[in-house]
Symmetry: D2
Subunit: 116 residues, 4 copies
């Protein structure tokens, strides 16, 4: 069992133990995911773009970002489960399609309209 | 190497091959993530809440949701990398904290203000 | 001068007085808008869909939603200004286009794929 | 009647004529708003941060951003109506509170943690 599978199983158990599955319809989970993306946004919003990669590594910001990105993943896993989607398999397939759609030779150094 | 680690490595290689790393500062990746969450939102927005879990399993919607959730994960992985965050480790730690913060006995069947 | 024009002028002055215009490039403002939408999301996420319209009218939730929707508008106005967009004129034109695109006779009671 | 009030009334009539009010519970409208913010995000994501304010003024991008910001406002107005919130009054009150909370003399040139 991979780390992500273990995490997914633990989240599932966490929710079951609290009988929270009743709140976890796809639309509610999508809204919760939106909330967590918003938390990350609030941490990044005023950082100078060209120094952000460096500043996000400094405490206490680094820990806050770590926590909020964790929450995004936790809700993404739950949303995928509620939709019957195997997340890693779906992303692996999507990446394979992007490799074909954006041949490296033609797209080197050019920002794609929408890269995947 | 787990499936997620393989996926992360493949994304990294995909980006490197196209020299797209120059676009992948944390704020741009957060905006790209927002765009993909928006794509999922557009698929779910008008579904009746109480039938959504069932309707998202019907083609062609099921495939569209699979594709957009895949994109959310792909950008989340890239954002985490740009921020120096190990995503699964962070989420595992966050879940452990939530288990302590929300004892099952006290929170059974009660929607948390913010569950994680 | 309409209420919205007065509000926009006051926001502009607020930002000028604090010399915050330097932070208000379009991408940073979009991220700030995302953060505020996330705040609304956190207030709505676990409400039962069919009772939400009623529950959002009860204090203290009603005041919290009022505050967060206010923030969404404040950042939307700033983002529009940063992009050189006249918001109300743009929305009026967009609505006019939607009226043509979705004739009432053909679309009555049918959720549009994307209504505007 | 101000431009925004006229716009709100026109949106209301547009929705009524199509009997779409049945889809417009707060959570669905919040999801639709998220979708439209995502559309703006996709237009801005790969623009260089320091040239974005200039690039968003060039056609065809300028028209696309205008259209998507319009959609954000249209859904924000509908969400506010669904929640019983008077948007401009709420934002005017919120701005007044921000003026008190962030005295210009103390906050000049310093990015606020969360400015409003």
């Amino acid at each position: 069992m991979s780390d992500l599978e273990k995490l997914s199983a633990s989240i599932h158990e966490f929710v079951e133990d609290r009988d929270w599955g009743q709140f976890h319809d796809p639309k509610s989970l999508l809204i919760a995911l939106t909330g967590e993306v918003g938390e990350v946004a609030e941490l990044l919003q005023w950082l100078p773009a060209d120094r952000a990669a460096e500043l996000v590594r400094d405490a206490p910001l680094s820990g806050q970002i770590r926590d909020e990105l964790a929450d995004v993943l936790i809700y993404l896993i739950q949303l995928a489960e509620a939709c019957g989607v195997e997340l890693v398999a779906a992303a692996t397939a999507k990446l394979r399609a992007a490799i074909d759609r954006y041949p490296a030779s033609e797209h080197r150094g050019v920002a794609p309209n929408r890269p995947s």
